[in-house]
């Protein structure tokens, strides 16, 4: 087992995060929209569409009333880990503006140790997230300051001090994203920090398939993805993609929306099918919070079954309301379903 074992020993992180996540620092602007609007605007539904500043301005004029709430895939995962009682950290980049102040406030206030580089020339990234009547989300992300992420922004001390570094695939969309991943891999390997990644998005996988595949093979201890991302990574059907992914990495976790999820580490496998009665308001953040529950549980030394169980609970919370950061007490929510003394 790569990330945790029954006799797991983690670094004594002192003031450092045990699990540090790296990704785009984004404030979400969430509005409801019709399927027709998604089509008219030429968006790829249920995907993350990259947009530039002009498109962001034009789009904002056309969408409905919105709420603003801190997001960013890896940042959401860090937030979830912190809410579960874990020592979480986050590395990202913001602009010198109101959205940056909002992002910084929220990530710190939730208990995540943040390492936020600043880029004054560009505004903080924002994502216009359109929730359609089927409760799926279509994202339109203006990366702004986040696109200037550089290897120097990857805080080596924090990565070295952590037990796990978790990187979002989206990071590859920054020009120096691949160099950031390489920097992280170098630091992590030297320090004995495990590397987990998220494949993030089907189109993101298509854009960076070969490089991502190679990074997983050469550097990763764990991959989290959904079924579509796995299929696109291997240009294959779901079952074959999972088989290939398991050959490539020691621990693989594949989610498939309402169909549940599967986690594999060596020969061990755990599957779970979520309760169909969960009220879904907005699926934004479902994968991010799944990752939070899974990573937290595994870091605590939990087995795969416990990990997918906790992951499903944390993902279910975040889809029950608008926004990708939990609003309920995750520990209170999960405790009855966890082994005795799981949360200490």
């Amino acid at each position: 087992m790569s990330v945790a074992s029954s006799d797991h020993t983690n670094k004594n992180a002192n003031n450092h995060a045990s699990i540090i996540t790296v990704g785009n620092a984004i404030v979400d602007v969430i509005a409801q929209a019709s399927d027709d609007f998604i089509t008219e605007q030429g968006m790829m539904k249920n995907a993350m569409n990259l947009i530039d500043a002009d498109r962001a301005t034009a789009l904002y004029e056309r969408i409905g009333p919105a709420i603003e709430v801190s997001g960013g895939s890896a940042a959401n995962t860090a937030a979830g880990i912190a809410l579960l009682g874990g020592h979480a950290g986050f590395i990202g980049k913001i602009g010198d503006d109101m959205l940056g102040r909002i992002f910084r406030h929220d990530i710190n206030a939730i208990g995540v140790k943040s390492h936020l580089a600043a880029e004054e020339a560009l505004q903080t990234a924002c994502s216009y997230i359109l929730v359609t009547p089927d409760k799926q989300r279509t994202m339109n992300t203006y990366l702004g300051a986040s696109i200037t992420l550089k290897p120097d922004d990857m805080n080596a001390d924090a990565i070295a001090a952590a037990d796990i570094v978790y990187i979002e695939g989206y990071l590859y969309d920054a020009p120096e994203g691949p160099a950031c991943w390489d920097k992280i891999a170098g630091v992590a390997h030297a320090a004995g920090t495990k590397i987990a990644i998220s494949l993030s998005d089907g189109w993101c996988v298509e854009r960076h398939r070969q490089a991502m595949h190679q990074f997983v093979r050469d550097h990763c201890d764990m991959v989290l993805c959904n079924a579509e991302e796995a299929r696109l990574m291997f240009n294959s059907d779901k079952d074959d993609a999972i088989r290939q992914l398991r050959q490539l990495v020691a621990e693989a976790v594949i989610t498939d929306g309402g169909n549940g999820s599967i986690a594999c580490a060596g020969d061990a496998i755990a599957t779970i099918t979520p309760d169909r009665d969960i009220p879904v308001m907005d699926t934004t953040g479902a994968g991010d919070l799944y990752a939070a529950g899974y990573l937290y549980a595994r870091h605590q030394g939990a087995d795969l079954n416990t990990a997918v169980n906790l992951a499903t609970i944390t993902a279910s919370e975040v889809i029950s309301h608008i926004g990708a950061r939990p609003q309920a007490d995750l520990i209170a929510l999960a405790s009855p379903h966890m082994p005795d003394h799981f949360f200490g």
Copy 2:
């Protein structure tokens, strides 16, 4: 009946709003907080606390993760009226900043015709709203640009073209707030526009009791308030306060949280007790959306019973989630409970 009658004839508003609301243009910053935190910070619980810029900065550093969503009492009411299919307008003042752009976008996107003056030297008003475990909200409002509201900002054409102008009591907290009210009264009386006001907040009533009392007596066709505001207005118990209010104004509507509400117009009285099973997440905006349902129904010529029924439905929607602007389709929600063809 002052605002609507069975043979009601409204102005043909053309491109103008039929119901125009006037108030502070505020973006809400909503976080959860403990009762201890409210006490430690010396806030008046469940009330609107006015704060200055320094206090706003210091407070933001201490509160938990938040979401940003457009608010402002009268603006929320206009939003609700628009969502019910009414022609709503809003008059207020924003700064030249991100929060101002958010406010402007949201009020326009929801279908309200906005008349937003701009004050470049001050930032857009924001309210740090702390939701305690009992789901009550304690507001800490930095009025910013809104405090510079002047009589010239009160769009006379829009007020004259409307059938009803609805003013929030909070407006009195701006130095030229009372002058704004006088300007509105003058324009409204000359144009035959009915005047409705909200008493807004108990402490706001305490700050401006005499002036508000006089304004109601001299100028108002309708007053909406909660039981506490009524008590404080007349320094009396609830029943006596309602009696006195009915003597002062042609149409009075008094809400009392979970105990329901009462509407009185001349000899006609309607009361309603809401369903106790409504899931309450955040009471922010409850009074504002009650006003939206009530004003819309009365403007449509509905009787008091229909009006308090619709008001209770719209208020119930907004307390079922975080934020003071509705997220559900109000017409679909209310239609089954309204008279046939109510929504046309």
